[in-house]
Symmetry: C2
Subunit: 243 residues, 2 copies
DNA sequence: CACTTTACCGCACGATCGTGCTATAAAGAA
DNA sequence: TTCTTTATAGCACGATCGTGCGGTAAAGTG
């Protein structure tokens, strides 16, 4: 047998090059050649791992979705139930530079999905997973008796929470809000969901709370070594052999 | 003087061709040639009205924003203040086929704006205008004493309403919600803002209520004949002279 | 009529696109 | 060693892109 490379690992590496191109130059700058240049490979090498451009994009889209799902389900959360809910939801929002980049990539794919049914299908799964997560969080608060008196069903509350989270995210991505304001509004909304108490650190419940998984949500283990950092931070530009 | 055409009118006609291409084939199918074919003009004719592709896109983006701003400020609203608020906000949301198309176009531009600072600037103005509109609506409810007891500022309530509106819209555009569910959730949220009463038609106030303008919001008059229907419905395909 | 100005067409250029293809390098198996 | 299989490079093809530009039709003025 000749030189063997981990195909799945290489595909992830190339997908991350797609992310960097999208984050830096916009989604309409993604081409086989630009991704090849960004990753340091040749166009011919790319075709060994993705037979078509659409396949590359679909993989990069799925991967960024998996990335946040994995982070949600592997992060340990501390604090009151309300703080846990807040921090879980913030995992999907542009709360810092890393998540801003991540969210803008996911958002770019979302727009691309308006004209690409294959991408749209992947994204609907993501939305369904996020709604299920919101519903589970709300149900958890309800079971703990922390929800303020309400007339709506928990499903209705979850739908609105989900919409608020995505709406706030879009507003930050569009430059209409900054991250602090976004977080403040999320906090304010959660403050209306539970009793009045603000972000009070009193009444803390230090035991890490279980977080309902967002989707099929396979853990960090799917053949690889665990949390090795799928982060965008691995932006090493490989140098070419020639030219 | 030779043949004179209304430049602004022609530019609008071409921008509507851009909208149709985006709605039918996706934003990445917009090129000078496809827009020329869609509008029935030649590529050379296009260049008489837009010297560059970016200029064409920017104009089409601004125009779709103006279109909803104009509709908001020219529609007469009837019903209780709460119903007025609902109907005003629904003007920007994919509540029916027409508005769905319109919203998907605006959304496509939004993603395009992530990589184009000029477009991003236009869109920030739009978001600011929409926030101001939400704030004015909330203040109107507050002045009428219709707001349920709340601890938050009206600005905070407006921010969250704005985010909910856009979040629900995105969820419909992504195929995650249908229009009815979206409207139901908007209604439910407004039901929490004001007193408990649902969408009850009792206690109606039939006098058309004034709607605070969304932006600089010039009326429908800006040199043209008024409400002549800037609608996407004017999809007449012009036949070429030859070929 | 001729003349001027605007509207419009459509070709041409160079760049870039996705993708098929061949040639070569590398690495274990025999 | 030779052979077989995989990995990678990079060229070539046809299509499409944005845009510049010259030519022609039309409409009003003199």
């Amino acid at each position: 047998m000749p030189k063997i490379v981990d195909h799945d690992l290489r595909r992830r590496e190339l997908a991350e090059a797609v992310w960097r191109v999208i984050a830096r130059d916009g989604v309409d700058q993604v081409s086989i050649r630009t991704v090849a240049a960004e990753s340091g490979w040749s166009t011919g090498a790319l075709r060994h791992y993705f037979s078509t451009r659409a396949e590359l994009l679909a993989f990069a889209c799925e991967l960024v979705i998996d990335k946040v799902a994995t982070r949600i389900s592997t992060t340990r959360y501390v604090g009151s139930p309300r703080e846990v809910v807040r921090d879980v939801l913030l995992q999907t929002m542009p709360a810092d530079a890393n998540r801003h980049t991540e969210a803008s990539i996911a958002f770019a794919f979302l727009a691309l999905g308006l004209g690409d049914p294959a991408l749209a299908r992947v994204q609907r799964l993501h939305f369904t997973g996020m709604y299920d997560l919101c519903l589970a969080l709300i149900r958890d608060l309800d079971a703990k008796g922390l929800l303020a008196p309400h007339t709506a069903t928990v499903e209705s509350l979850a739908r609105r929470l989900h919409a608020l989270v995505d709406g706030l995210s879009v507003h930050v991505l569009a430059g209409h809000l900054d991250a602090e304001e976004m977080i403040a509004q999320l906090d304010a909304y959660l403050g209306e969901l539970v009793g009045q108490p603000g972000t009070s650190r009193a009444h803390r419940m230090p035991a890490p709370t279980d977080v309902p998984s967002a989707r099929g949500a396979r853990g960090p283990e799917d053949g690889r070594t665990g949390a090795h950092g799928t982060g965008t931070s691995s932006g090493h530009r490989r140098r070419r052999k020639r030219s």
